[in-house]
């Protein structure tokens, strides 16, 4: 499995759209007038690129036995409504320990060519 470490997927372009951001803010109980909630990064960083990993036969992710174990986001700055961002996912680590597969996936997000946000997700997949 470890041959996928270092593999990157094609960059994904995402528009930060007002209606979607407001719906997300309302769903999580944040103030919809306060701009883009920090964990909207789940949309523009994490899920935008995780689908590429989960859909990759070479990565062979057993989605039915997958748990999201750890998550980290870092921000150089936060996006604003109307921004366009580009997210690129890379497999960072893929190790087996005690019949569990630990798969770490990093996503780098840029805006106008400058770093905006980083996401690091650890998935645990039961064997």
């Amino acid at each position: 499995m470890s041959e996928i470490v270092g593999k990157s997927y094609p960059p994904v372009k995402i528009g930060i759209e007002e209606a979607h951001v407001r719906a997300f803010a309302e769903a999580i109980g944040a103030d919809p007038d306060a701009g883009v909630p920090p964990t909207y990064a789940a949309v523009y960083a994490l899920f935008a690129t995780a689908v590429q990993l989960y859909g990759d036969p070479e990565a062979a992710v057993d989605f039915a036995h997958l748990l999201h174990s750890e998550q980290e986001f870092t921000w150089e700055h936060h996006p604003e409504v109307g921004d366009q961002v580009i997210a690129t996912g890379t497999v960072e680590e893929d190790v087996d320990r005690r019949n569990l597969r630990f798969l770490t996936y990093a996503t780098a997000v840029t805006s106008d060519g400058s770093p905006l946000c980083g996401s690091r997700m650890v998935n645990v997949i039961r064997g």
């Binding site: 769903a27 964990t39 949309v43 750890e70």
Partner: protein, 126 residues
């Protein structure tokens, strides 16, 4: 509440909010929406998305920070399942405030005292 501690924050977990989060985030994994699918995956029933819990962690930190744009880092481990009907209490303290950075140590427990988010931290610009 001693000096340096954040005002605790309570989150009441409902099926309606989990469904709304699935819709808004695009994460339609059936373990969050369908009890049968959740049980087939070895869970007691539907569970909240880890990211919905992390969103509440962010709400907690933003309530302290005043403006989410101060947030530079947010991290947690999803240590326990969060179920509809649970009441989650978030607590935190200022661990370090130096230069241009404030570091918060955070955690979340359910109504039974079980920790559902661990290794949680946030960094804010001062």
């Amino acid at each position: 509440m001693s000096q340096g501690e954040l005002e605790p924050f309570t989150w009441r977990v409902t099926r309606e909010q989990i469904a709304a989060y699935a819709e808004a985030s695009g994460d339609h994994n059936p373990i969050h929406l369908d009890d049968h699918a959740a049980r087939a995956a070895g869970l007691p029933g539907v569970i909240a998305h880890g990211m919905l819990g992390m969103a509440q962690l962010a709400n907690f930190v933003v309530a302290y920070a005043g403006d989410h744009r101060r947030l530079r880092k947010l991290r947690c481990r999803f240590s326990g399942m969060v179920l509809p009907g649970d009441v989650i209490t978030f607590s935190g303290r200022v661990a370090e405030a130096s230069g241009n950075l404030v570091r918060l140590e955070l955690e979340a427990q359910n109504q039974k005292g079980e920790r559902v988010l661990t290794k949680a931290l946030a960094e804010l610009t001062a």
